[in-house]
């Protein structure tokens, strides 16, 4: 978490009215904006508590609940699919049920798992808002919700991937998934070369968030 330190977040000279469209993509609050956000949400919460619509303590518990999912859950599914062909087939056929087998609860209506192979690469985005498999990957990264990613991933995905340092060869078919409705998507990356002797737990360590969105691949193990 260091990339933001020198720009974006604490830019005191940042003004909402002329910052955004120039070099666009990421609108973040400055310090004053964050304080305003905190005041506004606290005020909203106190009103809702006062009306008896939310009980004190519920918000804190819900925050704990939404903080707990993370990349490790997706990685667990991927690692199992890498070592167990039958599981892989079940995961691709019905992501939600296969996740449940491993004790991973998918809150969304359905999880569509799309597999990369030698001839296919998959990329996930959401052009309309920021749909993301939150129950297994946590919150989306800032760039995923940026205007640039949302606008360009469906039109020039190969150029977008190149910005992430990933060059997809021309003979590899690229499938871009716009998660615009009820499904959520997880990319099943290819098991990296050199990982043959690794345990399932070690394999899970190789699976990054970016691999499961499709902006990266699991690199070969040295």
């Amino acid at each position: 978490m260091s990339a933001h330190d020198d720009h974006h977040l604490h830019d005191h000279d940042h003004h909402h009215d002329h910052e955004h469209d120039a070099h666009e993509p990421l609108v973040v609050e400055d310090e004053a904006g964050n304080i305003e956000g905190q005041i506004l949400v606290d005020a909203l919460q106190s009103l809702l508590v006062e009306r008896g619509l939310i009980f004190p303590g519920e918000v804190r518990r819900e925050i704990e609940r939404i903080e707990s999912p993370g990349v490790h859950l997706g990685a667990k599914l991927v690692a199992r699919a890498w070592v167990d062909e039958a599981y892989r087939a079940r995961l691709l056929a019905d992501g939600k049920s296969a996740a449940a087998e491993l004790g991973v609860g998918v809150g969304e209506a359905q999880l569509i798992v799309v597999a990369n192979d030698a001839g296919t690469h998959n990329l996930v985005c959401c052009t309309l808002c920021s749909c993301y498999p939150r129950s297994i990957l946590g919150q989306p990264p800032a760039w995923y919700i940026s205007k640039a990613y949302r606008a360009r991933a469906v039109r020039e995905p190969r150029a977008v991937l190149a910005e992430f340092g990933l060059r997809v060869p021309d003979d590899v078919r690229l499938l871009v998934h716009d998660s615009n409705a009820d499904m959520r998507y997880l990319v099943l990356p290819e098991r990296p070369a050199g990982s043959e002797g690794m345990s399932e737990a070690e394999l899970a360590e190789l699976v990054t968030r970016d691999c499961m969105i499709g902006v990266a691949v699991a690199p070969a193990v040295a």
């Binding site: 052009t127 039109r155 020039e156 995905p157 690229l174 499938l175 716009d178 409705a181 009820d182 499904m183």
Partner: protein, 101 residues
């Protein structure tokens, strides 16, 4: 409502000209694609957005579109595809010749 389409069917995305909250992006309207997968039936987001949770549910499909047909200046492989979910009422059957897959 029984799903009107099945995997492999060629479909055309309509432009219903609806105001309000819709989940069919502009860039895909009027385009022809192929149904990849039936997703099941879901409450219509257009109803949900105005607080109507009483249904009916609408079949949802994943539909694939060749990138080169969506974007005339597309740079990539002719096999590259955009996959997106479309609700039944936004789709019409398309003539087989309307889509070159």
């Amino acid at each position: 409502m029984t799903p009107r389409f099945d995997a492999g069917d060629r479909v055309l995305v309509l432009d219903l000209g609806k105001p309000g909250h819709i989940r069919t992006p502009f860039y895909i309207r009027g385009r022809a694609g192929v149904v990849l997968h039936r997703c099941g039936a879901f409450l219509n987001p257009e109803d949900l957005s105005i607080g109507n949770v009483g249904g009916p549910v609408v079949p949802l499909y994943r539909v694939g579109f060749p990138m080169v047909e969506l974007w005339p200046d597309y740079r990539g492989s002719a096999a590259d595809m955009l996959c997106i979910e479309i609700y039944d009422h936004w789709l019409a059957p398309a003539a087989p010749s309307a889509v070159a897959m």
